[in-house]
């Protein structure tokens, strides 16, 4: 028997069942990717020279990052499930290592230390950590049906560690996206809905207690206060030049779109250039403005379709680990999309989070492509046999 090399032990193109790959998922994902490219191109084209010099949207840079990270879809697809299951802990540990490393070697920007400089782009380890968490939880929950209270300890601890590290960067928004992913995967693994609900209630009580004990930073609480005060237009208008600045710019752009939108590249978000992070965290505001309610709603429906297609793909998997990974990826997409959109439209407090497949940003693309590849690759391994060693054949 021929001995496999290092990459051979991890990847194998021949094991992908091409006929069973969910091409619908890939098609929808590419559709979203294309949408992102079009809007980012329009943003770049709409910028004046002065805005560009001041560090505006860089379509060429985004395209370059995309070309660099796109192969990760294939990497995700070709990875051997058995290797993945066996090494999920190491991957997770690697992600935690990066999260720790960023505390020491990371670039400090705006008083946050979240990035490690790479030649092609700056790596944000917290993005990778979300994928790592999905793999780790799948690994832990593959043989754990959460029947006893002690069964909860390991998965909750596995989720808690990266959340604390990310929150300490500080990046509370990214940390919070891990919550729905974790809760969702716990449910998929067999936890009762009531237990999950209880966990949520406990979380809320703990958060309240932390606030009372002064453990929540003033600026973090201020975001919550700002959000509560700015739900209605009058409140937001009153704070538009203060703590509600970003919210105001996003809401103005979205509201300005109306039912039918203002046309590609014609939004005030692009024209005036006041909307912060309009190519990344606030890209939805730009799309909603230029495509209008119907366009934005269409985009959300497509995203929901992507999530549901991945979930359906997961649900058809016999292997518990694969099912949880693919289900986790669906939750990852759902959490990102709905948190991102909700912050922009005022349903949640403002936090920095990218819109998968659309936002610019190398780390986001990297993590998204990797997750998508895993969903496509693992999702193609449907097995009709009912024994738990089905993976042995790959």
């Amino acid at each position: 028997m021929r001995r496999r090399g290092f990459f051979g032990r991890i990847f194998s193109a021949s094991n992908v069942r091409w006929s069973e790959v969910d091409w619908h998922v890939l098609f929808v994902a590419l559709m979203l990717l294309g949408t992102g490219l079009v809007f980012l191109w329009a943003m770049d084209a709409a910028e004046g020279e002065s805005m560009r010099l001041a560090g505006g949207v860089n379509f060429a840079g985004h395209r370059q990052k995309m070309l660099v990270t796109l192969p990760l879809i294939l990497a995700g697809m070709f990875v051997r499930p058995s290797w993945l299951r066996a090494n999920a802990g190491w991957i997770y540990a690697g992600c935690l290592g990066l999260l720790v490393a960023v505390m020491f070697i990371g670039d400090e920007r705006n008083n946050a230390r979240r990035w490690i400089q790479l030649p092609a782009f700056d790596l944000q380890p917290s993005e990778l950590a979300k994928v790592g968490l999905v793999l780790m939880l799948a690994r832990l929950l593959a043989s754990n049906r959460l029947e006893e209270p002690k069964d909860w300890i390991a998965p909750l601890a596995a989720a808690g560690v990266p959340m604390v590290l990310v929150a300490g960067q500080p990046d509370l928004g990214t940390a919070m996206t891990m919550v729905p992913v974790t809760l969702g995967m716990l449910y998929l693994a067999g936890a009762r809905a009531r237990s999950i609900l209880g966990l949520v209630v406990c979380g809320v009580v703990l958060a309240f207690g932390a606030r009372q004990a002064g453990m929540v930073q003033e600026y973090q609480w201020k975001r919550v206060e700002t959000w509560a005060a700015t739900y209605e237009p009058d409140g937001l208008l009153a704070l538009k030049t203060g703590s509600g600045y970003h919210l105001y710019q996003a809401r103005t752009a979205i509201g300005n779109g109306g039912a039918w939108g203002r046309g590609l590249g014609q939004g005030v978000a692009n024209g005036a250039g006041h909307l912060p992070e309009r190519d990344s965290d606030s890209v939805f505001a730009v799309i909603a403005e230029e495509a209008g309610f119907y366009g934005a709603a269409g985009l959300l429906v497509v995203y929901s379709l992507l999530v549901i297609l991945i979930m359906l793909s997961a649900s058809a998997l016999r292997d518990r680990f694969s099912r949880l990974v693919v289900g986790g990826v669906a939750l990852y997409f759902a959490a990102h999309v709905f948190i991102n959109v909700s912050t922009n439209i005022g349903l949640l407090p403002m936090t920095g989070l990218t819109l998968p497949l659309i936002s610019a940003g190398g780390s986001s693309l990297l993590a998204t492509f990797l997750a998508l590849g895993l969903a496509l690759g693992l999702g193609s391994h449907h097995d009709t046999r009912l024994d738990s060693d089905a993976f042995q054949s790959y």
């Binding site: 003033e218 649900s315 349903l347």
Partner: protein, 1098 residues
């Protein structure tokens, strides 16, 4: 599907929720956000109007708005774009202390060599707190090993390291294209010096590295040398006259050194401003609100690290900010308080006083907006700015007791609020209650308190929005005393906390988050460098912006006087006259809008903001926007404050225009059309003044020739320091020349009243009592002939006796001739021979004293004044204009007492010695009436906006035959031997035309004069005795045969009479080429008219 149903359901539910909210925002709230978006993409500009120009009667420009250039300096651009700025910034980053530009310039080459030896690894080590080295010239020490990483982070070393990369690239001139390759080199060769990395990037195929390295090094050296040479050249092109402040040092350094000093100061200003903002972000109030002592109690290490200062620099900042309140009180705040006294005029003055004082101690969010109706402020005043913020701002602040934070100012006393006191009592009580407080002011004795309270109330009650020097002292006293109270309480509060008092982590985090933005913002603000740069500088900066990074040119509009005095003539001593603005005091000045007016516009500005944000505008909204913007003061706007600029401000000022620019207007389906209305410029104003005549008048009255050598009583001290005026009028009223002296203030003079120290427009004003003297005699005569049956030919014996002073005279009036004209005649001839013509020629006082007493009754002098327009406005301010209240051009006239005059009054009145105080313009107007039989209105403005505003004269009401009698009598003044202006240079032979005039002298104030009857002797010292100093006049018209122009000369405060002073000034003026030219033109016109009549006759 097991277990996936619920998540899918939740996804769908969330989708529905999100879509519902999206519908809310995008469809239901669309109008709100579309309106906001329209406002975001719309830029509004108030288009400033151009103020109307001012021309002379022939259309020659006198004053106009002129665009000029101003040179500005932007520290951020210099720091990033100029090699010297790069070097200073690099060293400051590495040393964490502000390295001076002069230091950087001194060792620029060596520093640059050392800095480019830094390696990426070295910079990384530096970021981690280790040492960094660039050879002998650059050694940055390592931080202590213990807790090095934390210390490095606290010292912002990682951020500083990132900036070092940036500035090294700037210093080496790395282009955008080279940057990517350099990044690769940095990661490939972390131990190679920066210079080598850049050289490798630039290395072409086949080139040796050593060659490229040498080339890059040379390029760096050349770049630095060239930039320093350019700066030196630039410095020599700057006019340092106004830029050099002697306080900077005893010796004015070389321009190059001076330039670096000025740039260094701009940099310090930028750094100070950034530190101010960061402190305010952390503290919630400005640093200037704390005394230096209280500031020192705070832990400000974080601030020092944020702006890369060392301890001495931080200490400097603390001292400057700690004294900030005192300086602000003196320079700004007292004025602001005074301005606030004038707002909310519906409130009682005492309440306005307390409101205004409370305003500056209140937290900004509770301060009322000026101009908006607020019933009470001080009564509800609760929150002291600093004490309100301290619990939130400092660590441990939450534990402060409420009692520590209340009752600092008297205003907060409950007893005062409930006292029911009003007016003076209220303010006095507010000040008095300070006595009971710790640290109450030492000046607050009962008497001082009452006086201060009274002065404050008076300031609030007084009309007028401007103040005099020293007038604001009571406001300053109270502000400083209250601040003392506040500082004592703050000191006690801070003293109760662990020292040094740290800021709360939340606030500090907010300030640190804002750090980059604040520093960028403050560094990027332009600071004025030179208000009047030479065109050479403007060209250099405009044409070669890269070579002069940091400098920029902007255009500003100034009000510029174009017509200047005669600079081509030499004054005494052979010096040339410094050119001055013609008719300077009469034209007046422009200034910035008053603070009160600006504050009063705040409600309009708030209304404008609301209107601008509306999605749809009603026609009434549009009108209102135009209305508000038309009169909103814009930055740099000038308003007339005095003279014609002030008087005609409504006409000279235009209306601002308004323009909205909609970035995406064409594509927008929502929003409203952009508004545009062009500015409406101010109207041009044409004066009646004539440039040449005005120039001549100003020259003559300011540089009068000494009296001729043979004159018996010259007053040379007056000719050396003249005070007076010359007026030349067209007989129909337009003033052609209105010249005053002096034009320079503060000259020491021999005058009695010190008027030579004041620059005034003296043709329309009368500082002190200005009796007309004998130039009133022709008016008395004309009135007597018309109404009182005066027989001009009847001889009169008028010197009836010797007066108390032993001189011949009538009643209380002496004959000015020591022998007495009629007594002499009677003694010699046995008859009295003083007729009107004779009396007029010699200006016989007693003849007119007798006329006054015997012909006039108690009221008839009032009629005389009315007929000749004395004691009433001359007409210069009587234009048919809008009703708007007007300031500016000032005219003074005194109305005689409204009761019958006594016989003695009448003796003197007929000689112009009492009651009637007048101006040169008023007398000129009366003489126009005498010369033509029509009394005109004196006029300075011929046209406004191209439309004539000249008015027609009115009949005098005196028969022409009587006027002819008087005119003929006046001919003797110059023509008859013994006439008061005979042989004084006013004859037809002297002038080339016949000038009809009357002289006049009137006692003014006691002072030193030559002994009575004595003579001045030139060149010999002379004992002066106490006597009466005089005003002297000459008033007359020319040409005699067909009067066209009236001349009035006024000499103020002289020791001699008109015949020895004013007459010579009149002669000098009438001999001026401009007057001769005027007469030539008059003759030509006359000849043309005559030939026209002849033609018609044929």
């Amino acid at each position: 599907m097991r277990r996936f149903g619920l998540p899918i359901g939740l996804v769908l539910l969330t989708l529905v929720l999100v879509l519902a909210r999206l519908y809310d925002v995008q469809v239901r709230e669309h109008r709100v956000w579309a309106s906001e978006a329209a406002a975001l993409e719309r830029s509004e500009t108030i288009l400033p109007h151009t103020r109307g120009a001012i021309y002379d009667r022939k259309g020659r420009l006198w004053v106009a708005d002129e665009v000029r250039y101003e040179l500005e300096f932007v520290w951020r651009d210099f720091r990033r774009g100029h090699p010297l700025g790069n070097l200073a910034a690099l060293r400051s980053l590495l040393d964490a202390s502000p390295v001076r530009l002069s230091e950087a310039a001194h060792d620029a080459g060596l520093w640059a060599e050392a800095l480019v030896q830094l390696t990426p690894q070295g910079i990384r080590d530096f970021a981690q707190g280790k040492e960094a080295s660039g050879g002998r010239w650059l050694q940055v020490g390592a931080l202590p090993e213990e807790g090095r990483k934390e210390r490095a982070r606290a010292e912002r070393r990682p951020a500083r390291a990132a900036a070092v990369h940036f500035y090294l690239q700037r210093l080496l001139g790395v282009t955008g294209r080279e940057r990517g390759a350099l990044r690769q080199q940095r990661s490939d060769r972390p131990d190679a010096p920066y210079l080598e990395l850049v050289a490798r990037v630039r290395q072409g195929r086949g080139e040796l590295l050593a060659e490229v390295l040498q080339r890059t090094r040379m390029a760096l050296r050349t770049r630095i040398d060239a930039s320093l040479q350019r700066l030196e050249f630039f410095a020599y092109a700057v006019d340092w006259t106004d830029l050099w402040d002697p306080n900077w040092g005893p010796v004015k350094p070389e321009p190059g050194v001076l330039l670096l000093e000025v740039l260094e100061r701009a940099r310090r200003e930028a750094e100070d401003a950034a530190a101010d903002r960061l402190f305010a972000a952390a503290a919630g109030f400005r640093a200037g609100r704390l005394s230096a002592g209280n500031l020192s109690k705070l832990d400000l290490g974080w601030l020092r690290r944020c702006v890369y200062w060392d301890e001495p620099r931080l200490a400097e900042w603390i001292v400057s900010r700690g004294n900030g309140w005192v300086e602000q009180v003196e320079n700004v705040l007292a004025g602001h308080v005074f301005a606030r006294f004038k707002l909310k005029t519906g409130r009682a003055p005492a309440d306005r006083v307390l409101d205004a004082l409370a305003h500056f101690f209140a937290a900004p969010e509770v301060r009322p907006i000026p101009g908006l109706p607020v019933d009470s402020f001080w009564e509800s005043f609760r929150e002291l700015e600093v004490l309100e913020q301290l619990p939130l701002a400092v660590r441990g602040g939450e534990d402060l007791r409420a009692a520590d934070l209340r009752r600092v100012l008297p205003l907060e006393e409950r007893a005062l609020r409930r006292s029911g006191l009003v007016g003076l009592d209220l303010v006095a009580e507010a000040l008095w209650s300070m006595q009971d407080m710790d640290g109450g002011p030492s000046w607050a004795g009962a008497e001082a308190v009452n006086r201060t309270a009274e002065e404050l109330i008076q300031l609030a009650e007084r009309a007028g929005a401007e103040w005099q020097p020293g007038e604001l002292e009571p406001i300053e006293d109270v502000l400083l005393a209250w601040d003392d109270l506040l500082q004592m309480r703050i000191g006690a509060v801070l003293g109760s906390l662990p020292q040094p008092v740290a800021f709360s982590s939340g606030r500090l985090r907010g300030a640190l988050e804002a750090r980059n933005h604040v520093v960028k913002d403050m560094d990027a603000r332009p600071r004025s460098f030179s208000r009047e740069p030479s065109m050479e500088l403007v060209h250099l900066v405009g044409r070669y912006p890269a070579d002069f990074a940091g400098f920029q040119v902007r255009s500003v509009t100034d009000r510029v006087p174009v017509a200047l005095s005669d600079w081509a003539r030499k004054v005494r001593g052979g010096e040339y006259q410094e050119p001055r603005t013609l008719f300077q005091e009469g034209l007046g000045l422009v200034r910035s809008p008053q603070l009160v007016k600006q504050l009063e516009q705040r409600p309009d500005q708030i209304e404008l903001d609301l209107l601008q944000n509306k999605l749809e505008l009603q026609p009434s909204d549009e009108r209102r926007i135009y209305e508000i913007t038309a009169e909103t003061f814009h930055s740099g706007q000038a308003v007339g404050s005095s003279g014609i600029e002030g008087y005609l401000d409504p006409e000279l000022s235009g209306l601002n225009g308004y323009r909205e620019v909609m970035g995406l207007q064409e594509q927008s389906s929502s929003g409203r059309p952009a508004l545009f209305r062009p500015p409406s410029d101010g109207k041009p104003v044409t004066l009646t003044l004539d440039t040449s005549l005005q120039r001549a008048g100003e020259w003559v009255i300011n540089h009068p020739e000494p009296a001729p050598a043979g004159d018996s009583r010259p007053d040379d001290s007056w000719t050396e320091n003249p005070v007076g005026a010359v007026v030349l009028m067209d007989v129909e009223g337009p003033i052609l020349c209105a010249a005053s002296a002096p034009l320079e203030p503060g000259l020491v003079t021999g005058g009695a009243d010190g008027q030579a120290a004041f620059v005034l427009e003296r043709t329309l004003r009368q500082p002190g009592f200005h009796p007309a003297g004998s130039i009133i005699k022709p008016l008395v005569a004309a009135f007597g002939l018309q109404f009182l049956g005066l027989d001009p030919n009847a001889p009169r014996v008028v010197c009836s006796h010797y007066t108390e002073r032993g001189k011949p005279g009538w009643g209380k009036v002496d004959c000015h001739s020591s022998a007495g004209h009629t007594l002499q005649a009677k003694a010699l001839l046995g008859v009295a021979d003083m007729t009107l013509s004779k009396s007029m020629a010699v200006s016989c006082n007693t003849y007119f004293a007798q006329l006054g007493e015997t012909l006039f009754d108690g009221d008839e002098f009032h009629d005389l004044f009315r007929i000749f327009g004395l004691g009433e406005p001359s007409g210069v301010r009587s234009l048919p204009l809008s009703d708007r209240r007007r300031g500016g051009l000032r005219e003074e006239y005194r109305v005689a007492k409204n009761e019958p005059f006594t016989p003695i009054d009448r003796q003197r009145l007929a000689n112009g010695l009492v009651e009637i105080s007048t101006t040169p313009v008023a007398m000129g107007r009366a003489y126009c009436g005498l010369a033509t039989g029509m009394l005109p209105e004196a006029q300075l403005i011929a046209k406004i906006g191209g439309r004539s505003v000249l008015r027609e004269p009115r009949p005098l009401g005196i028969d022409e035959r009587h006027l002819v009698t008087v005119r003929e009598a006046m001919l003797g003044v110059t023509d008859q031997r013994g006439g008061s202006a005979h042989d004084k240079g006013l004859s037809e032979a002297d002038l080339g035309f016949r000038f009809v005039c009357k002289t006049g002298s009137a006692d003014y104030v006691p002072g030193f004069v030559p002994p009575y009857g004595g003579e001045f002797r030139r060149g010999a010292s002379q004992e002066l005795v106490e006597g009466m100093r005089k005003h002297t006049w000459v008033a007359g018209w020319f040409p005699a045969e067909a009067p066209r122009y009236v001349l009035v000369v006024y000499v103020h405060d002289t020791a001699t009479t008109s015949s020895h002073s004013a007459v010579f000034v009149a002669s000098q003026f009438l001999r001026e080429p401009a007057v001769q030219q005027l007469m030539a033109e008059a003759r030509a016109e006359q000849a043309q008219a005559a030939s026209g009549e002849t033609e018609q006759g044929r």
